[in-house]
């Protein structure tokens, strides 16, 4: 009787051991590309792991323990190929599993974050119900701070390459004249300002809704500098409507300096560069009222706009103002194209200031921008062709993380 029970228990134990294997090739290392907040564990995937099996991660601050739980991973999931930012695109990544450990939990306490540059000891246990099989000896690893995010290396190389192209063309532009394609909206700017001068009516410059930390607002402020210089030369009234107090302060300085540059500091009035409102539809209502009452001859709308774009542009149309808009907000572009006389689309907003200046170095940067775009189009076509042939090399090179 006892003998048969012992044989049965041995058989049951053997059955568990056959289904659940201890994790093999278990490794622990600092997680790359982070601020020293986590450690990454990897191990060979067990293709024969029974359904429902999990890997329990255990952490200790001493090699002898005690070990505390730090997370659980399904034996069927989390292959390293899921996280190319950390592991790259290597063919064997489907054969290994991973987990990033950032914290562990002591009994009865809140989770504790891993400390930077402190040794931790990791163990991995394969579990299925009450059964568990642990990896061998605990593996030591430290979470270290990294100085470069290697996952962004492709972005870095691209940024350096495009910057180099632009700087090279700036240098070329100093030596010889470059052909720059005509931008109708900017060609019309002088005409629009001249019209306001002839009619004796003001020019209304309307900023978008973004703050000074956004590139579209910086581009709009650059354009404002050029416009203010011309209005100062033509002795035309310029009103600048702002949505953001910081943009207001910058715009006041820019217009003031432009009037100074044009030799007309007396013509500058701080009251003409004003805060219209700091709420979207209040801003639209204020400017609509202003357009209807003051009837500016020219409306210039530059920056990032939202739903107020059509309210402003359509009101401008009804008062017969010549309107030039520029935005990189592709959702609002159709409204501006529909209602304005000229629209600067996307990149043209960023090219405007350089185009208006007609200064060789600035025009060189525009040429560099166009060359960069041509390179991107070529890469897109090549990448599409290669991806269609199931060669994902180029597509992976341009993946962003």
């Amino acid at each position: 009787m006892y003998r048969s029970m012992i044989i049965l228990l041995v058989l049951m134990g053997s059955a568990t051991a056959w289904g659940l294997k201890a994790p093999v090739d278990f490794e622990a290392a600092d997680t790359p590309n982070d601020a020293g907040t986590s450690v990454t564990l990897t191990w060979a995937r067990d293709a024969d792991a029974p359904a429902g099996a999990v890997y329990q991660v255990m952490v200790a601050t001493d090699s002898n323990g005690p070990f505390y739980p730090a997370g659980e991973v399904s034996a069927a999931g989390s292959p390293m190929s899921e996280d190319p930012a950390a592991f790259g695109f290597w063919s064997d990544h489907d054969d290994r599993q991973y987990v990033h450990v950032e914290e562990f939990t002591r009994p009865g306490e809140d989770p504790t974050k891993l400390e930077t540059d402190r040794p931790y000891y990791f163990r991995l246990e394969a579990r299925l119900g009450e059964e568990s099989v642990a990896s061998g000896a605990a593996v030591e690893a430290r979470a270290m701070e990294n100085f470069f995010n290697w996952a962004k290396l492709n972005n870095f190389i691209l940024a350096i390459s495009f910057s180099a192209i632009i700087l090279i063309y700036i240098s070329i532009a100093r030596r010889r004249e470059l052909y720059i394609r005509r931008i109708a909206g900017l060609e019309a700017l002088n005409e629009a300002l001249g019209r306001a001068t002839e009619m004796g009516k003001p020019v209304l410059f309307i900023h978008g809704l973004y703050g000074m930390d956004q590139p579209s607002t910086i581009a709009a402020v650059n354009i404002l500098g050029r416009v203010a210089q011309r209005t100062a030369e033509y002795d035309t009234a310029l009103r600048v409507a702002n949505y953001d107090p910081v943009v207001l302060a910058v715009s006041q300085e820019v217009v003031k300096e432009s009037y100074l540059e044009a030799g007309r500091p007396d013509a500058y009035s701080e009251n003409n560069v004003f805060l219209a409102a700091t709420e979207q539809f209040s801003y639209a209502a204020t400017l609509q009222g202003m357009m209807v009452r003051e009837r500016p001859a020219t409306n210039i709308m530059m920056g990032y706009f939202f739903a107020e774009s059509l309210l402003l542009a359509e009101t401008g149309t009804t008062i017969g103002a010549i309107q030039i808009a520029g935005t990189d907000s592709y959702t609002q572009l159709p409204f501006f194209v529909t209602t304005c006389d000229y629209t600067l689309m996307g990149e043209e907003l960023y090219a405007a200031s350089a185009y208006l200046a007609r200064e060789s170095r600035l025009l060189g940067s525009l040429k560099g921008q166009d060359i960069g775009k041509a390179v991107l189009i070529a890469v897109l076509l090549l990448g599409t062709a290669l991806a269609s042939l199931d060669i994902p090399f180029l597509a992976r090179m341009f993946s962003s993380y």
Binding site: A159, P245, F274, E314, T338, A357
Partner: protein, 218 residues
Amino acid sequence: MLFLRRTLPMILAFVTGIIGISIYYVPHSSAQGLEEVLARWLRIVYAFAFFLGLFSLLNLHWRRVRARQAGWGYSLIVYLSFGLMIFFVLYNDGTGPFSPQARAGGYQWLFLNVQVPCGATMFSILAFFISSAAYRTFRARTPEAAILLVAAVIVMLGRVPVGAYIHDFFPAAAQWLMDVPNMAAKRGILLGVSLGIVATSLRIIFGIERSYLGGGEE
């Protein structure tokens, strides 16, 4: 004087520009800490700039009232609304200005019953503006306008239940138009914008673009 007006802002633009770019690639905690400090500085600058904005707003409307410009009555409403809001914010439903913002009281009432409906009204006016703009655009005078008209009709029909009721073609065609030609145009614009941002940033960082200093070139 030239140093303060030209050279110093250009040095600041260069240094902060390079730091801003570097932070993006450096995950080290010192870089992240610097980013937080810069964000805090920005918030402080915003707080002070808000006073400038407030002064500008009140000054604008005060000049209108004083000069009895057309629509000066609206400027009086600005002052009245501003005074009322300030009063209720300070009163704070009887708890005073140094307590946390009350969840009830005059300020909340004015916001929910005046500010929000006024904003919603302005937003709803957009429907009429879209109609008039669409009418002008969809007059098929040129081949481009005709293509736009056809595409718009398909998308509009595809996005409402009656389109699917007329024919299954409309929802499928509308989705294709949004996913393929529309998406391609969107991405094309975004590529150009990204390059434009890189070029503008470089021009400012290296002091080639100086219009933000007043437009003059050396």
